[in-house]
């Protein structure tokens, strides 16, 4: 997993040149892959909590009501992380294709500038230029989509953090089951913190994408 300092080092390595978009998006896809497994940990914790509260009977009633929310937020996080991974993978691939199209269009443009107008060449040029433009639009859409998804995950982790506070209160009322439920609240808190840190890194990578 990269740290915020790693992202700075990565950016510095390009010495003022923009980091290529296909590199940024592939980095984002790689970095946010582990968010999925962390969110799965939350989901497992929530299932464990359900098992404990089922045994705890009335002691566990308060906590039991919360597990449903935890489950929902972990599912949302997994879903967002999956979509981020897929969208950034698409963005990376499309940016590679875009380079090829742009290079072809540029080279044809240069040839055309030195030769009398050749119909076949200008048709080919138009084809590459149009395809590059289409890819550019698609990339722009994917870029905005990524921003939205990152915000969504951030909202999920914020919500999870406030749920953890309620978990602790309810755990303290669970009598003999208190300790087990405290452990679960701590696990969820730790996982939410890890996702939060990843989102900071993800956002920083995405900011680089905005500049590339």
């Amino acid at each position: 997993m990269l740290t915020l300092e790693d992202i700075d080092a990565l950016h510095r390595a390009y010495e003022g040149h923009p980091v290529p978009r296909f590199v940024v998006s592939a980095t984002l896809a790689t970095e946010l892959k582990s968010t999925i497994s962390i969110a799965r940990r939350i989901s497992i914790s929530s299932k464990n909590a359900q098992a404990i509260t089922a045994r705890a009977g009335t002691w566990g009633q308060g906590f039991s009501g919360i597990t449903q929310f935890i489950d929902e937020f972990s599912r949302n996080t997994i879903d967002c992380a999956n979509r981020i991974s897929e969208t950034s993978r698409q963005l990376s691939q499309a940016s590679v294709t875009l380079i090829a199209r742009r290079t072809m269009a540029d080279r044809l443009g240069r040839v055309m500038a030195h030769h009398a107008k050749v119909e076949a060449l200008s048709q080919l040029y138009d084809k590459y230029a149009a395809s590059a433009e289409k890819l550019e639009e698609e990339n722009e859409r994917n870029f905005h989509q990524l921003r939205k998804l990152i915000e969504e995950i951030r909202d999920c982790t914020r919500a999870l953090n406030s749920i953890v506070a309620t978990c602790r209160i309810e755990a303290s009322r669970a009598g003999p089951f208190q300790q087990a439920l405290f452990v679960i609240a701590a696990d969820i808190e730790e996982a939410a913190w890890e996702i939060g840190e990843q989102i900071k890194v993800g956002k920083k990578i995405l900011d680089m994408l905005g500049r590339s």
Binding site: L2, D6, A13, P20, F22, V23, T27, S92, Q93, V96
Partner: protein, 249 residues
């Protein structure tokens, strides 16, 4: 693209990437190898242009982009290095180690930023700071300017097209039954390798190395006793059959 660590020690590890399920059907399957130290990574025979996106994603699982500092091309073939133009744009500072003989040819794949480090005919070494890899000459096997990479510490020989096999589907990583493996590699060696003289010279050189893994660019890896079995088999094989094949019966 599938990837896994092959061998590792304190200073570095070897990773194989390949068996890409997203690979277009008519493209030959290739193994890409990466050697990762604590601060740097080299990609050995980084592969074709069609594979680039998958390969980049795979490499980033092991190192951030600015720590991918070196590329190695055993020879000039498109399945080895036609992705160069894209690596050239991706890597902020990169060096390509490749045979001196092919510089003017390889540059056709597009190279503006990466530094070309020519490898002399008698090989040399690639220094990655904490790790040094030996470059072993393997000319005419099959390319006229061609090298292998040997890691004396982990005892891996990355042998390029030597030892390559073509099997349908997604074969396992290692040779499990040497005799059963022969049909998958026989034609490849007979037809793509041009010179018995070069072949025997290479075998003599390689027999002096302590090799645990012989890792080709296509197909399965030989390990342990199968390395010796391969060298013995290759020694007996007559190569260069394209010459006879060029006459119509």
């Amino acid at each position: 693209m599938h990837s896994e660590t092959l061998l590792e020690c304190k200073t570095h590890r070897w990773i194989i990437c390949g068996r890409d399920p997203d690979k277009p059907d008519k493209i030959i399957d290739t193994n890409q190898y990466m050697v990762r130290t604590d601060t740097r990574m080299i990609i050995l025979d980084p592969g074709g242009i069609e594979l680039f996106s998958s390969m980049l994603a795979c490499a980033l699982n092991y190192a951030p982009i600015h720590e991918i500092t070196d590329l190695f091309a055993s020879h000039q073939d498109p399945d080895i290095i036609s992705s160069l133009g894209l690596w050239d744009q991706a890597l902020p500072k990169g060096r390509l180690h490749a045979p001196w003989l092919w510089e003017g040819f390889i540059r056709h794949f597009g190279m503006n930023n990466i530094e070309y480090v020519p490898i002399a005919d008698d090989g040399g070494e690639i220094n990655l700071g904490s790790v040094s890899l030996q470059i072993i000459p393997a000319h005419y096997l099959h390319s006229s300017g061609n090298h292998n990479i040997y890691d004396p510490e982990l005892k891996i020989l990355m042998s390029g097209d030597i030892g390559a096999s073509l099997e349908p589907g997604q074969p396992p990583l290692f040779v499990e039954d040497f005799e059963a493996h022969i049909p998958h590699m026989e034609y490849f060696h007979k037809r793509w390798m041009p010179s018995n003289y070069a072949k025997n010279d290479w075998i003599k050189r390689v027999r002096q190395l302590d090799i645990e893994y012989l890792a080709p660019q296509h197909g399965r890896i030989f390990r342990g006793d199968d390395v010796k079995r391969f060298l013995d088999w290759f020694e007996r094989l007559e190569v260069g059959v394209g010459v006879q094949a060029s006459y119509r019966n």
